[in-house]
């Protein structure tokens, strides 16, 4: 399902060897859309109305099971302030999945999604998977971004889309699990379709000499 290298990569980063694969996931989005709360809800199942604004980059770990494999999720939480862009984008490379978050009560954070997506395209691996999440869907009274707009934008960008609430624990777990599933799918796809070892063996003969039988024809 996944390459062994991923596990090897993981081992280097953590002394905790107790997993088969490690996925690095990044949560990005404008400042105070609820990235930290979202992560705390998922990793610790806790919610606090106010977390200290993240300085730089922080992370949490959660291990889940998929097809009898232990997958360790190393989820990096980033500062959303403009000033931290250069610092955080440096971490994009190497991330296998992104949760791009906006706040449904804040138009600006939604408008910035396109920008964030461009950043992902510029700085991440080309097969990194992205989910779009509209957070704070518990605050229906203050909603300014209609669900439909979120869906349309996600289609336009080619991401899957969830509305979620870290506070009321809506769709938090689902978001992460869906992201893991997509990453797994993508991985097995690329392994089946074009694993170097496989393609290398398959494609080689195409170009090589025709596999002439040793006793091909005697006349020439």
């Amino acid at each position: 399902m996944a390459s062994a290298t991923d596990a090897r990569h993981g081992q280097k980063e953590s002394s905790d060897q107790n997993f088969d694969y490690m996925f690095k996931i990044l949560i990005i989005g404008n400042s105070s859309v609820g990235k930290t709360s979202f992560l705390f809800r998922y990793a610790d199942d806790s919610f606090t109305p106010a977390f200290v604004s993240t300085v730089g980059i922080d992370f949490k770990v959660k291990t889940i099971y998929r097809n009898d494999k232990r997958i360790k999720l190393q989820i990096w939480d980033t500062a959303g302030q403009e000033r931290y862009r250069t610092i955080t984008t440096a971490y994009y490379r190497g991330a296998m999945g992104f949760i791009l978050m906006y706040d449904i009560t804040n138009e600006e954070s939604f408008n910035a999604v396109q920008d964030w997506s461009t950043q992902i395209k510029t700085y991440s691996w080309d097969n990194a998977q992205v989910l779009l999440v509209g957070n704070k869907c518990d605050m229906e009274d203050e909603r300014v971004v209609a669900g439909e707009r979120g869906r349309q934008l996600s289609e336009h960008l080619g991401f899957e889309y969830f509305e979620a609430s870290a506070k009321d624990n809506i769709n938090v777990k689902q978001t992460f699990e869906r992201l893991v599933d997509i990453i797994c799918e993508k991985m097995s796809e690329s392994l089946d379709a074009a694993d170097p070892a496989v393609t290398g063996a398959k494609q080689g003969p195409q170009l090589t000499e025709q596999p002439a039988a040793p006793h091909q024809d005697c006349a020439c």
Partner: protein, 934 residues
Amino acid sequence: MAADSDPESEVFEITDFTTASEWERFVTRVEEVLNDWKLIGNSAGRPLEKGEYSNGTWEEKTQEINFADFKFSITHHFLKQDSAENDGREEPEEDAVPGAMQDLLCMNNDFPPRAHCLVRWYGVREFVVISPGANCEAVISESKCNLLLSSVSISLANTGCQVPVFVQIQQKWRRMYAGECQGPGVRTDFEMVHLRKVPSQYNHLSGLLDIFKSKIGCPLTPLPPINIAIRFTYVLQDWQQCSWPQQPPDFDALLAGEVGGVEFGKLPFGACEDPISELHLATTWPQLTEGIVVDNDVYSDLDPLQAPHWSVRVRKADNPQCLLGDFLMEFFKLCCRKESTEDILGRNSLEEEGKENSDISHALSKLTEPSTVPMSRLSVSNMVHSARKRIRRHRRVEESPLSNDVLNSILLYLFPDATERPSEGSDSKATQSNAESKVDKESEDYKLYNQLKSAPSDSLTYRLSLCLCMVNFYHGGVRGVAHLWQEFVLEMRYRWENNHLVYGLASGPPDLRCCLLHQKLQMLNCCIERKRSRDEGRKGGTGTETGRERRVSGRAPPDGGKAKLKPEGRLHPHGKLTLLNSSEPLYIPVTQEPAPMTEDLLEEQSEVLAKLGTSAEGAHLRARMQSACLLSDMESFKAANPGCSLEDFVRWYSPRDYVEEEAADENGETVVRGDLSARMKIPGNMWVEAWETAKATPARRQRRLFDDTKEAEKVLHYLAVQKPADLTQHLLPCVLQAAILKMKDEESSEDIPSVRRAIQQVISHSSKLLRHPNPDNKKLEDVINQVMEMEAVVARARSLKAKFGLGKVERGDDAENLERFVSSLQEEPEVMVIGAGRGPAGSIIHKLFVNAQRVALLSPMEEDSGRAGVAEERRPGVGGLPDFPPPAGREILLRTCVPRPAPYSKALPQRLFCVLMREDFRLAGAFSSDTSFF
């Protein structure tokens, strides 16, 4: 036999006291295998389609069997047929002739271009071969052969298997087979004659017909007609009339001097020898009957030009030496070298010390005299030279792997800014890599570096990789590489020390999409840039006041206390905001740029951060570790906005953390009231804490967030310790990228779909491979091998095009057909020539042969030109020159269906396949006879 077929015999094999002989056991074993493979019963299949033997897939199954301690392998060869169709077919009559016998007469698959020799000789679609095992001696004595044949005969009779079974006799290379096929009441014997020389009485059709007839011994008169198929093969080896166009590039001339550096960026391409070694023309008369043609010892009707079918195959040279592939492979091989640069360049390590000393003294003197030489007066070429002189001094020229000339031209290619006159402001251009060249940065090709994790094709790193590759190939191998690298590192240090930007690198922080070495060079440039702007800031400081300020830098700024602080380090006013506590506009401060990072630094840092764990303390520590930037920004902000508050800072820095609400004041008027967000008000949080410790210090007087001196030294040290093997690892992606681009370029002029597909595969394959920090060497080698294959294909296409004069002919249907013909020569084992000898391709082939004949037969005379008189005398023979050489091979296939052995027997297929070559004569006969009525 009976005892052996008892199932228990298997179990008690070792203690088997029955009288079964080894021979009986062997027969049983053969029967078992035939049973296992389900070859029992009627084998008649559907009639074969035309060309099915070459288009279909052949499969084989093998098993080992023993005759006493002699190993045999038994192999089932069969044409894979649509099983669905087989299921649907109706049950054939009980006593139908076996499929193999029917195949003997089938005319749809004569002379298949690619098939097992038994298929070619006997036209069978399915057969079993028993041949001596790999390390066993051949079966040569007649009695042994007969014993084997008898075994086969018994097995076939016992099992009712209708698939022909052959045994290989005599030495392997002779490809001698004898065999048998049995059906209900019928039997075919496969016999073979193999001689070194063609007996003169059988050197033509009529002689062979005589053998066939006498072998059949048909009692009928008149004899039923004999069907004849003939194929003559002519070999063209001599391509002299179109000599191989590829000239090995003359690199010495290239480096001799006047040729500009541009040539360095080019990779060599093509085969050094003709990748097409032979052309085989097969002229076929597919269906003749006796009497239509005459072919005897004095006269022959079989003129190849008149043959109704022509087909051509080309023989490719085995592993032709190809320049690009060799180039890559040689570079790749450096990966395995263990030596460090110093190991290779030897004594230099000692000199290094001496040099270091002189450097230090030099550095000291540099420190003591402020701003030594104005940069503008120093031309870069001077720099390159003086930098090099330093090591040259200590090394005798003849010991250097690279000659001065070579080195100079390489350095000029790598650092083209060296030739620009400083007055033109080469500095400003330095970072715009090749600003004037028309590189389409949006093109797919340009962005390839992104996929391969290499470097842009106009970057210094890319050029360096090509140079190292070339030096490795043409100028001293690993020693040359080490030498060039040493010079390169020296140049980097020189540039750092002299504040001179490294040419040919995109400005800005290291591009993590590129290879690490490229990032390191970019990092060095960042350092140089920072250092320069610091120096400039110092020089450009207005008046003495700034000068004094500089001197107190590092010390805590004088505590302003109540004294009104002078604002410092303002970038520009925010525009919309004013300070909350005063009417002063809010100024955005000049801030320190965050430290640029290369991927290894980044990984190191994220490892450190990750090690802190996920606890709350860990998170707090992490935030504290990363707060330097925040603190610096706060200090800059305070300096630019005297009297400001955290709220002001937050309004600029993190606007959403300042919440504004409309509220009515005591007068009932609505006013906007703002406050920090809840999270900013958490007591003791990082932001508040940092704000309280932040002193009003403009960015330029703060402790540097990025220590360019330290980082530059780190980079330079990193570069200095790279071994040639490391360099290869770093730069192989760049070289691969260059090779792929070259391949694309070459392919586009040839238009070969298979290569185009292969290029895409190589790209996606290597992009996956190179993503890993330490790609598997074995797999990298595979990639290079694929590149080599592609190169050979392109080279072959070129060779063929040259031979067939493509591009010279006028456009039109003919040209298009010819083009198609030539391109399929590479892809198909054998290509039909449309119109045979009279078609456009045919006439070219004819000409090729005529020319070759002329050259082959006349050249001895030309050599003998000294005896001109003799040559003159012989000349009249020229007119009588045959167009074609004697055929290298003649195949004659005779078939008929006659009753045998008695006139009242069933009419059964008879076949004789004759192969006549210069040193090989073979008759492969299949003669069927009726076993019920004889």
